[in-house]
């Protein structure tokens, strides 16, 4: 079982320490950890499970903050990692975002949350809705109150309603004047695109990319504001396209197995009902055509971006990001649309926004290679970000959402959005 949780800032300082069991874990473990991070660099930071001389350490990194959990005995490592992910999710949910200052400002709440989430090294309550009921999220009013009254605790005195109910994720007595339920399809497109590149250096041909892999990872997010104990069924028009699914614990497995219908008693408020994957998609909404030619110590780059398959809605916040290879000394990049930034760590960002009607955005420029290096042999990979509101690119469609014992006024809403996930174009 977990013995201790540490939160480290990006300079290695311990922000927070939470001992979970009777045997204290010394802080020196963090020093050990940080020494290794410094000496071994990023490869150590991306190791999720580390065996130190005295403890096993699980680590995840979120927004520059390293979450460490220590244990000395055998336990399922995914349990530790998954728990840390939940902690990170809930903290960022409570605090708005994650950073060192915010955590330090809200120490009390963070500790209270950890107290509720884990006891004696065993995860307790991790359902965000229930946690919200037990511990009020920070806001200005509560801060004012605590300053005025001197009572700093915002743990509610009453037990959360869910503990008593037969459905552990839902409080018993929920009352809303307006009954509303919103279903969001949030999809992320993962794709790997190869732009075929000839080895002949002088005339690199300009060809369409080859789609190596294209799939959609999607989530059904439900915001449920319903009174009483509603029982919902959600069915899809085309459930056969789903390749894999994962469910929130509230979903009953039997109806899904037999009819591919989601039947569930929802938690109160926002939650992730299911996540799914649709594989083997045939096309992508936009194209990115990088072209790199190098000759005599300089390298010319030109990247073109355009719409390939118009999804019917506007594609916005298109951002292209790539890491310049280490052998490049300097780069001079310009674009005819949007802004280009080259950071000191050689990450180049080209934010395009929307694609204009009249011209195709393109980025061009020259890069100077290291002295002595004639041609470029390692090629950057372009990460593309975009967002399309109102469309689920996988083609998944919600057929209907039914409610047993329908209340008087019921509003059902539906939205879809597609974003780029791990969408990359190899040059």
């Amino acid at each position: 079982m977990l013995q201790c949780i540490f939160l480290l800032a990006d300079n290695g300082a311990v922000i927070l320490e939470k001992q979970l069991t009777g045997h204290r874990v010394d802080r020196s473990i963090c020093d050990w950890f940080w020494d290794h991070v410094i000496s071994q660099g990023d490869s150590f930071k991306s190791m999720p499970v580390i065996a130190s001389p005295t403890h096993y350490i699980f680590q995840i990194v979120r927004a520059g903050i390293t979450f460490l959990a220590c244990t000395q005995v055998e336990m399922p490592p995914l349990m530790g990692i998954e728990f840390l992910c939940r902690v990170a999710d809930i903290l960022s949910d409570y605090l708005g975002e994650l950073n060192e200052d915010l955590i330090k400002d809200n120490f009390v709440i963070v500790y209270e949350l950890l107290d509720e989430m884990i006891d004696n090294g065993f995860p307790l309550t991790t359902e965000p809705n229930i946690l919200r009921e037990m511990i009020a999220p920070p806001n200005i009013v509560s801060k004012m109150l605590s300053v005025v009254t001197g009572n700093s605790s915002n743990v509610s005195d009453i037990l959360p309603g869910a503990t008593a109910s037969c459905v552990p994720w839902r409080p018993t007595d929920v009352k809303y004047a307006n009954n509303e339920v919103y279903v969001d399809l949030v999809e992320e497109m993962d794709a790997i695109i190869n732009s075929t590149k000839q080895f002949s250096l002088l005339h690199a041909r300009f060809r369409d990319g080859v789609l190596v892999k294209c799939e959609i990872y999607g989530e059904v997010q439900v915001n449920c504001l319903l009174s009483g104990l509603p029982d919902l069924t959600l069915s899809f028009a085309n459930p056969s396209i789903l390749h894999d699914v994962r469910f929130h614990p509230c979903v009953r497995f039997r109806p899904w197995e037999s009819h591919q219908i989601l039947s569930f008693v929802p938690p109160d408020g926002q939650f992730k009902l299911m996540s799914y994957r649709v594989k083997k998609l045939k096309s992508t909404p936009i194209y990115v055509k990088p072209q790199l030619t190098s000759d005599a110590g300089t390298c010319r780059i030109s990247v073109m971006v355009g719409i390939r398959n118009d999804p019917g809605k506007t594609i916005d916040s298109i951002i292209l990001q790539f890491q310049l290879p280490p052998c490049i000394l300097s780069a001079d990049l310009t674009s005819n649309h949007g802004t280009v930034n080259v950071l000191s760590n050689k990450i180049c960002t080209w934010s395009i926004g929307r694609i204009p009607k009249d011209k195709a955005p393109s980025l061009s420029g020259t890069m100077v290679l290291e002295t002595g290096l004639e041609t470029l042999r390692v090629f950057p990979t372009f990460q593309v970000e975009f967002r399309i509101m109102g469309v689920a690119l996988s083609g998944l469609q919600i057929d209907k959402l039914d409610l047993q014992n329908v209340p008087n006024r019921l509003y059902k809403g539906f939205r879809a959005v597609t974003r780029a996930g791990e969408y990359e174009v190899r040059s």
Partner: protein
Amino acid sequence: MAGIRLHVISPLVLVAVGKCARDPSVFVRKCAANALPKLHELRQEEITSAIEEIVGILLNDRSPGVVGAAAAAFASICPNNFTLIGRNYRNLCQILPDVEEWGQILLIEILLRYVVASHGLVKESIMSSLLCIESSHSEKDVFDVNVALEDNGIPSRTYDSELVNLVSRSYIEGLGEYLTRSSDTNARSSDLNGARFTSGKTNDDVKLLLQCTSPLLWSHNSAVVLAAAGVHWIMSPKEDVKRIVKPLLFILRSSGASKYVVLCNIQVFAKALPHLFVPHYEDFFVSSSDSYQSKALKLEILSSIVTESSISSVFKEFQDYIRDPDRRFAADTVAAIGLCARKLPKMANTCVEGLLALIRQELLTSDIESGNGEADVLIQSIISIKSIIKQDPSCHEKVIIQLFRSLDSIKVPEARVMIIWMVGEYSSVGVKIPRMLTTVLKYLAWCFKSEAVETKLQILNTTIKVLLCAKGGDMWTITRLFSYLLELAECDLNYDVRDRARFFKKLFSHNLCSQVPEETNALQENKDLPLVLVECIFRKQENLAASEPINDRFYLPGSLSQIVLHAAPGYEPLPKPCSSLCDDLGQFSNSIDRTTALGEEWTGSSSNGTDDPDTSGSLDEESGSNYDSQQSIPGLSDNSGTGDSASEGDRNCDPLIQISDAGIACSNENGASHSGFPDLEGMMSKRALESWLDEQPGSSSPSASEQIQVRQSSARISIGNIGRQVKAKSYTLLDPANGNGLKVYYSFSSEASTISPQLVCLETFFENCSSETMSEVTLVDEESHKALDLADLTLATTAR
């Protein structure tokens, strides 16, 4: 209240918890269950049974929330008390999907252990491979089984079945048995003779468990998915195992950290049953956002599941990876190409072509020193080519010639060493190569002075090899070249080179003195000498062709030990099949007591240091820390040519210190910058060394029958701690002041052994710190077939 860790109030708390456990409110009962582990940690003998009783009551609860907490309590209090589970088994299975996610993880594991303990293994599952090996073991050797399988037309299966067998066996066996197995093959048949198998189709309990865990494969929590997949892996019939594949691949998407863990587990699954993952190879394509470790794991999985239908697209991917800015990864890719080519001989030609093109391309640009990365890629591609060529040297003649030609432009010493090695090794292959030899050797002799030390040594070796195979007119030239080289080498700055040269000179003094015409006669006279040499060299070749034995250990899927690749404290293999049948129960718990007692003696000495130097790389770290009982193995990794590993055990098969061959296994551990290739490259130069080392006993004392196979191995040490039961007592003993037990110090002394240069002196000191006398301390050699001279070890046992 249980959080107040005071011994005085524990009886009071116990009463309160007992009362709460019968409370009508679900929440109260749940809290009571949560309080139990805390109470248990106070380690009070008298209340243990009472606690277990309460756990039993809580497990019987109707509410899923309570059961989840009770499962956590059960796992930490009495994980081997299967009677408690047996009573509620059906209820627990039915309630499992409703239990909260964290409870599910533990409950799944408990149920799995219970089913294995009470019903044995499932006949149709992968674990049943044990059975077939078992039955045939009595009359046949394992090899016969493999041969039989091969006759059935599935040659690739042989490797799998062996591996599957190994995997499944290591799930069941504890550390102790692992050691005994490798030293004594009989142990393997004896320790599982009692194993009973049940059929998944007829046994309701097994069916129920599988049924209840299958919806969990859709769980939101990836830890639950992995745990459920583990159950199916072990228990479900072989044809149904494939249902775990999709969920496992799906949780790859969840987060970077869990991706690595899941990949580690998939790697084992994919090695054992590659066909499961074959259709899903696309999921293992590397994306640039993966961490380096994940990338390396994906490559390994890809190369193990690749088939003829998928190879073309996989190769296209590999070609892209080679251009990745991360040159470490590019080098790994090249290694993976080599692996694939070996797996699918049809593709070998394409691979070699591609690799040669790569080498040429590297050469074009590697004249400037652009960091180590480029050199690594080059070396790795030559290693890959070499391993492909080794399979069938004669049909790759042209490739070999091309490599010889590129000698001039390749500057990296390691790469040169390998090509020069090939000159010697394949000197008699084909028609053209023998004709080229003199030119190549002349070139080598010409640039001898400017070479690195290792290259010099390799040139000397190669010349000898060529000399031995040479015939007719070339002989004279080569002999001249050789003596010229020897003269050069004798004046070398490096003493290794000088020594080697003198050694060869002595060895060949006859050959060199006698001039060309008499050469053949001289050969006749000294027939034994060159013959032995030739024999040694060729024998070496055969040895290398034999595949490396799998020295890896496997741990239960989803366990921490599987990730760090050594048994974490508290790791327990699956219980012995059918061990908890009623009459056995008493005995079973007895044996646990015994192990507990043993553990106590040990915890004193191995107190906090129980974790791990998991790879040889981290050994220095360990010796640097200040526990008085730490072991230090200076320079073990340098001595890696030694195949002897001593292990210490006692009669109860519960050794706590284990040194085992890790072989190539640790390449992906720790993800340190030293991944696969330096290891292989080390092996290369070692091989060269071996080939001449082997000559020595043969020529100096031909009668010595003892031929010690020197194998590349790095030691892995794991110090086991026997289970959670041990923790019961360990706290008072943790104090080093009164730590009692058996202390073992050992070190590798630098002095050379008097018996044979291949042996390394290992000094072991035992010290009994406990008040009782200890007897029957034996040193068990883990790999007895390696003919380790135990007499060389000075054994000083003091029983005080």
